[in-house]
Symmetry: C2
Subunit: 147 residues, 2 copies
């Protein structure tokens, strides 16, 4: 059996465009776990206390729109579909070698400026943090899949 | 702000015994995300297809008993409490520097011998895989916290 990085590379090697990544259901499911982990890790580090948080579809769908990546979702997607696309893109980055810790660091850059003990402010911070990472992902993927 | 490894070290540095780790609620919550991620990753690699799976409390509580680590849970814990202890221990290992990929590799050693497309067989495999990693965790922690 291949090691983990080679296995993941093989699994996602067929992808030929950012849109193909954005609408992949398996990537969305796997990416959901990645997304929750990197956010829980980032929040724990900022708070100095272990925490766990499921990232809501409102946060992810808003961040996808703000990062101008709605074009990579299915046409006429609702918030659920847009969140799936955000998760698929994040899951893909893990598969091509971005570490979870490096992705959490990107979220931390933004989250550290917000009071995460206040639920409403945390939501705003999370939207900005995911907009930030999705924008970085877009810039990176456009170098691999020039449109 | 500290980097991620230093922050996590600081957060868990007060732990003085395996039991103290096993009954920590924050570690259990954080460890839940770690556990689901390492299992989803391991299963994806074995199947050669991305997957996502929430690990059930039956799997984790049975594995905790089989690895003879029930003594690190609260006395008179039910399956839910025992699963929390398994998750807390797994979460702790990530905090002290075991990578998620190395933990997934330990699960893969066992899971690769099971047909994960069959739900019942997968459950048996998952119990053995978590028994395997918890036993390794116990052996490691006993070198840090000799009883």
């Amino acid at each position: 059996m291949d090691d983990i990085p080679s296995s993941l590379q093989k699994i996602i090697q067929s992808k030929k465009s950012i849109k193909e990544i954005g609408i992949d259901k398996d990537l969305a499911k796997f990416g959901d776990t990645v997304t929750n982990f990197i956010y829980s890790l980032a929040k724990s580090v900022v708070l100095g206390k272990l925490d766990q948080r499921k990232v809501s579809r409102t946060i992810l769908s808003t961040a996808l729109k703000q990062s101008k990546m709605k074009i990579y979702a299915k046409t006429r997607s609702d918030a659920h579909g847009l969140a799936d696309t955000a998760e698929a893109l994040i899951g893909y980055m893990y598969c091509i070698g971005w570490s979870l810790e490096s992705m959490a660091e990107i979220l931390i850059e933004i989250l550290k400026n917000y009071n995460l003990n206040d639920f409403k402010i945390e939501k705003l911070g999370a939207i900005q943090a995911f907009t930030h990472i999705l924008t970085k992902i877009k810039n990176y993927l456009l170098t691999i899949f020039p449109s």
